[in-house]
Symmetry: C2
DNA sequence: ACCTGAACACCGTTCAAGT
DNA sequence: ACCTGAACACCGTTCAAGT
């Protein structure tokens, strides 16, 4: 690998690619150093330890969250635009699902930015500060959960044919369950033959998240 | 440690305790073997590898999910009872938040049981099979997310005083953000002085989850 | 059937040293 | 300021061997 001068940003960018391609567990100090054409210990100059490196990757990835929303729109529409922007970025960088569970997100500037916008909007919706923060967490976790539970998602480390086999095995284990004990699951397994409509999945998911906020907001206001 | 004869269940139980007390990362084959008073390789007789061990722990913990619900109640009430039962168990075993992200849940019998019940109920609510499964995923991820984002939650590895210091540091980093750029976050940080009302947090969270399902169901029906 | 001992290829991290 | 080399205490896992 080419070994130019390292930068925090360059290291984070490479690590992000590696994590999206092969899963977060592929991002080891030693492996990443090898990809960067450098000694493992070189990374410790730019990041205090592995936790800080992971935080740097998350911060780097989350900085791409940009909601195009019209401040004159009602808060519901603006909130939806924010959630859609968030889901879009997490779909582009699936390693964020693992990353956001592992790192202390509140230390990332890009996360503070998004939280701040959400808090402002939820204030308009009639929530107090504490409630707003809880609702914002619900939305973030929901967005992460949607991508993590995306139909047919398999470990990032698998190649194309391996992934197909993985899905087949998954369907088979569900189909082989006792039809007396688990009739609904067995019936559902049969629907897995056809590829799922991902856009419908995400539309429903985002609807669920926002309908939750709107339902609770109405009750409050 | 006492070294009686090992069982799959006994190993899973011990591992669950260790994971809840010190975090899932404390559950290594070697560490667990030491706690059980046995050689690391002994565990490989009962579990094919570490993934299967983690699945066993999750299955063991999830088997405690028992919703007391009245079949004559409307589906909304029954669904709420199920979500409440799920949240209760995850709160009792916080390592489930990490565990359920890592393992292939659909291979766990106790998970199939809960999924089957949820699918039946969501059918009553007017959802098709595929949609029901997506909604069930939303609820599961939501329950996990609620516990994972519980206010003031800190790494399980920290002891009492360490946890307090961790929370103090966390509040300080948020308070020190630029009040011009992040006014809402800085204002929120000040509310962190008082201990949060966890029951209000979980009530709101569960309301959000169910309001989402009810809102989308109404639109469909 | 159930468990051990030794070995292998990995980790993250520290510390002294080089330029 | 930026990076290297050697070393330490950890991992999961295999394989042959013991009872």
């Amino acid at each position: 690998m080419v070994s130019e001068r390292l930068t925090r940003a360059a290291v984070a960018e490479r690590a992000l690619c590696l994590a999206d391609a092969e899963g977060l567990e592929a991002v080891t100090i030693r492996r990443l150093a090898q990809v960067l054409g450098v000694t493992p210990m070189a990374l410790y100059w730019h990041f205090k330890n592995k936790d800080e490196l992971l935080l740097g990757i998350a911060d780097h990835a989350l900085s791409a969250v940009k909601a195009t929303r019209d401040p004159s729109d009602p808060w519901q529409a603006q909130l939806r635009a924010m959630v859609e922007a968030l889901v879009r970025v997490i779909r582009e960088h699936p390693c964020l699902t693992a990353l956001l569970q592992v790192v202390d997100k509140h230390q990332a500037a890009s996360f503070a930015r998004a939280t701040n916008d959400a808090l402002a909007l939820l204030g308009q919706a009639g929530f107090g500060l504490r409630e707003s923060f809880w609702v914002a967490s619900y939305l973030l976790q929901g967005a992460v959960g949607l991508v993590a539970s995306e139909p047919d998602r398999c470990p990032a480390s698998l190649t194309g044919p391996e992934a197909a086999e993985w899905r087949r095995q998954r369907r088979l284990t569900m189909e082989k369950l006792s039809p007396d004990e688990f009739p609904m699951v067995v019936a559902f397994a049969r629907t897995l033959e056809d590829a799922p409509d991902l856009e419908r999945y995400y539309d429903l998911g985002i609807d669920l998240l926002l309908a939750g906020v709107e339902g609770v907001a109405k009750r409050n206001g």
